[in-house]
Symmetry: C2
Subunit: 461 residues, 2 copies
């Protein structure tokens, strides 16, 4: 406790640059002080967050106080509305500076989110060479390695010495996002990689050829960005080289981009799994109407699908009229089935996402799930049967009927739950669609079908 | 298509070192060839995977062919059973070599998973200094920054020149996991950080004090590992310094560890959200019995909770006997409510995990969710009312009753769905518990309560 208090005190003592303080300093025209504070006390990603509710004038004033690199970095972290407002407030030459300082992959991200007129203005503020590179990057399919890669990296030749390589890094390194892995190319083809750690810890007279690793990992421009991010995670890399179909080096994906990709893809998966169409904005950055739009389609579809369950139940109206207590068991049966199914489908969806499970494992998975289902259904049916008898909700016949239904439901739910995500992946759909909402609805339908079939057979109604 | 074929051909041409080929080469005692292939053609993480089904003799034979560093790295990637088998097959001096080569944080991970007798043997194979460091690391709470940090990093002093610093990296860098960020300390206190990029791209005669960044990010040993990983992602860092409560530098958390932490935490969250108790093993690494054990508790709890729904329905048995078609609407009402609730709770759980939403946002969130719920319930109730009339499942009174119930359910479900995860976080529970399974059960109970209250009022039964 005491320790905790100490931390808190420490945090308090550190002067925080809040939204209010910035606005106050702007108001009182204490620009020099603000400029210093921004330099020493603020990270671009936090500043972009802080300025969310600024008006154009405030935004432009703060932006002009920033050093060139900080300005460009802050710009990349802004959300698209804020960015548009800022662009409209900047002069052409200021815009040129920003475009010059930004890394190419960030520039492409920005351009993809801007309306056409703003894109035109931004491209006008870019020099010819960079514009060509941008156009090339814009052509890679969405979510491909090409679309997230950075084209600025350090290329070495095999005959260079370690000393020459370090000199080259000294000369060109400042403008590269990462210098920590260098790539050895020959006629543009990737032939090896060298870590800067290697360069710094071996004799300066050695050649690159002697120390380069030729068994290097790489990915293709058309590979899925999630696969690329998974490779970077698995092998603990700082960057992964991206090559075209002729093994020519075209760029790198860095570990910070990979982390962003993984976080985005996970958020997307989790949203889809809950029946929410994913969007790139944050929760608070999404308006009420947009929230409705992203949640409504699945709800509508699932509500209408539930009609099937209803029609089956209506078909057995007479049975329900005779034994109305039978209806009371339905929510429990459906709930248990749905939960069993979603356990299996969730484990599959996650296993597919991290690359542990693939379609080829289908039968192995089904075999495992069936054994799990049999054990679980034995235990749940027994517990539930005892409960029914103790609570006097029915006789032994009712307990057996419910038990049999439950066992069938659980086994079916587990099979459906583990099969659908794998099949979805196989046919090119997103496995995350096959999550709880859809699985529950399918399980609901099979549960009532099985239930009334067994009820009719046992009670002859 | 053509491009794709080209890739595939390329992949085929590259000789793959498979499990079968390794076993074959062992069998035929082609050790030299295997040793070369392992050196040039295999990553430790993949090798650990390949050897999963090896017996002890095969395992030890392959292990002895590896270079020291590769051996240690492969060792850290093995699962605990395989590792134990290997340890029992190695001599004390071989074990000493492995323990010497492993990074400290990996050593600690290994020790935490091993049974006591193996731990004793491993610690005996460790020198005194390292053993003390290990003991200290083992004392940090599970999931804290201290438990995942690495204590080997490069420390510089403020009066050193850039040239001296590079020389120091040259001397001590080889044994450090990352050299790319160096830490400036004074009497062990962290006073600044310097990127190697900075060192390599400024004049060699400058001092560290001139180029160091004193506005550095850091975390405390007791901070949650997920928070630390989120900081590393947010600011795109390669490593984050970890300090004790006196600002003394004790270690670093590197980006690859952060990615692992995030992936583990996400898998854990997703499992809990589906009502599966998380474990550290993979899907296939978990036995059928363990799967049952991790899935059963929630299923049992939820099944028994569903009894409440059943008791409420039984209470209205007479109403159901009079109008049995009323039962048919229940699955649809519950399903829609459950889906609405889980949409909200999932968005909250994810927002909390990535640090976008916090408890203080509760009222802001509720206000947003209620507006979303009102719009959604208007649309769904209308569509459903029209459907009831068209399909002849009831008159306008039935349509209104169902519509009203649906609206109440949706609004309630969204409020419950967004509130519970935030409250869970506040009281120190894992918000992921408040996901679909539990929310559905709660929503089921409120749905039938509301439904029969409205039905009784409207139809006077």
């Amino acid at each position: 406790m005491e320790e905790k208090e100490m931390y808190e005190k420490e945090y308090e003592e550190r002067e925080e640059l809040t939204e209010e303080r910035i606005l106050e300093m702007l108001e009182e025209r204490r620009f020099k002080e603000l400029k210093e504070e921004l330099e020493n006390n603020m990270y671009p990603v936090d500043l972009a967050d802080l300025m969310e509710d600024f008006n154009q004038k405030q935004l432009v004033m703060v932006f002009r106080l920033l050093a060139k690199e900080e300005a460009a970095e802050t710009f990349t972290y802004m959300d698209s509305d804020l960015r548009e407002m800022l662009i409209n407030g900047l002069t052409d030459s200021e815009l040129e500076e920003v475009m010059e300082e930004m890394y190419l992959d960030d520039t492409v991200d920005v351009l993809e989110e801007m309306p056409a007129n703003v894109v035109d203005r931004l491209l006008m503020a870019t020099d010819e060479e960079k514009r060509q590179q941008i156009n090339q990057l814009l052509q890679y399919p969405e979510d491909s390695a090409g679309s997230v890669m950075n084209v600025e990296y350090i290329a070495l030749r095999r005959e260079m010495t370690v000393a020459e390589s370090i000199l080259k890094i000294r000369q060109v390194g400042l403008n590269k996002e990462t210098i920590y892995t260098c790539y050895v190319t020959e006629k543009r083809k990737l032939i090896g990689v060298v870590d800067v750690k290697e360069l710094l810890t071996t004799s300066e007279s050695k050649t690159i050829e002697e120390i380069m690793d030729t068994n290097m990992l790489y990915a293709h421009t058309t590979d899925d960005q999630e696969d690329v991010a998974n490779i970077i995670t698995k092998y603990g890399l700082i960057a992964l080289p991206i090559v075209d179909h002729e093994m020519c080096m075209v760029g790198i994906v860095t570990v910070d981009d990979a982390m962003e990709v993984l976080q985005e893809e996970t958020t997307e998966d989790i949203s889809i799994m809950a029946g929410v169409s994913p969007n790139d904005e944050s929760y608070f950055g999404t308006t009420v109407l947009e929230h409705v739009k992203s949640r409504l389609p699945w709800l509508l579809f699932l509500m209408l699908s539930a009609t099937v369950t209803q029609m089956i139940m209506n078909h057995y109206e007479s049975a329900l009229a005779v034994m109305p207590q039978l209806a009371g068991f339905i929510p429990m049966l459906m709930g248990t089935g749905g939960n069993c199914g979603s356990q299996s489908s969730t484990l599959m969806i996650r296993g597919l996402a991290v690359g542990e499970i693939e379609f080829g494992d289908l039968f192995k998975v089904i075999f495992k799930e069936v054994r799990v289902a049999v054990l679980i259904s034995l235990i749940l049916s027994t517990v539930n049967g005892i409960r029914i008898l103790i609570m006097g909700q029915g006789d032994i016949l009712v307990a057996l009927t419910i038990g049999m239904t439950m066992a069938c439901t659980i086994i079916l739910a587990k099979i459906v739950g583990c099969t659908l995500p794998l099949v979805a992946k196989k046919v090119g759909l997103d496995p995350a669609i096959m999550a709880t909402p859809l699985i529950s609805t399918l399980v609901d339908i099979s549960t009532v079908t099985v239930y009334f079939a067994i009820v009719s057979a046992v009670f002859k109604i």
